[in-house]
Symmetry: C2
Subunit: 115 residues, 2 copies
Amino acid sequence: MSNQLSACCSPLAREPLTEPQAVELSRLFKALADPVRLRLLSLIASHTGGEACVCDLTDAFDLTGPTISHHLKVLRESGLITGERRGTWVYYRVHPEVLARLSAVLVPGDAVVTS
Amino acid sequence: MSNQLSACCSPLAREPLTEPQAVELSRLFKALADPVRLRLLSLIASHTGGEACVCDLTDAFDLTGPTISHHLKVLRESGLITGERRGTWVYYRVHPEVLARLSAVLVPGDAVVTS
DNA sequence: TCCTTGGATAGATGTTCGTCAAAGCAGCAG
DNA sequence: CTGCTGCTTTGACGAACATCTATCCAAGGA
């Protein structure tokens, strides 16, 4: 819970991040700082229809169900994805705006150099 | 050490990441997954001339010198920044290509949806 | 030469994180 | 209701991490 994300949007290199902005952003990057979660995110994002069922995801790894579930929870709580139960299965999809915002933050400043 | 980064450039949402790609990327995101390191990176990137001296950086935090030095090392080893000693002081600057690559990876796919 | 200052390294410690096995809960089919 | 399957939660444990103090190296000024 707790994802306003309202504040920050200007690139890292534009002006120094405030401490609250940095804390906010670090929470998102922390969610991405694991190979399994990156692949999960990628699998979901690239899946047909923009959503994927947990059963598909679990098969792609040599990990137990609970572990996958744990990583999905981290991604969910960071606001990168949402899960919805439809009947027997649970489907996840990404929040593109959050990805876009992170992407924008990392864009290198263009005011650069000359030196 | 060890930063080819050659492989991956297509967005997360375009096609599923391979495991090696995910490992590679997760190392970079791990370096960004800390508020102090994000602010350090931002301070360096946004600094006049594109580089900043460690002495400037240390003053911006309530942390000891060794701790800042440790975080700079993490950023350095991940390939996000480089440090150069010139006389008494050490200056750091960012590697814009690496930031650009990360930014590109996070761009949400446009092949999305319809449903 | 010695001393001071900027910065990095080494070692120690408390915390966070990734993983699993076991148990729990939600839907669906007899 | 009973049992089965899909997914999540809980609790535990080892590895990785952020921080500190103490020590060390490098450059410059007396």
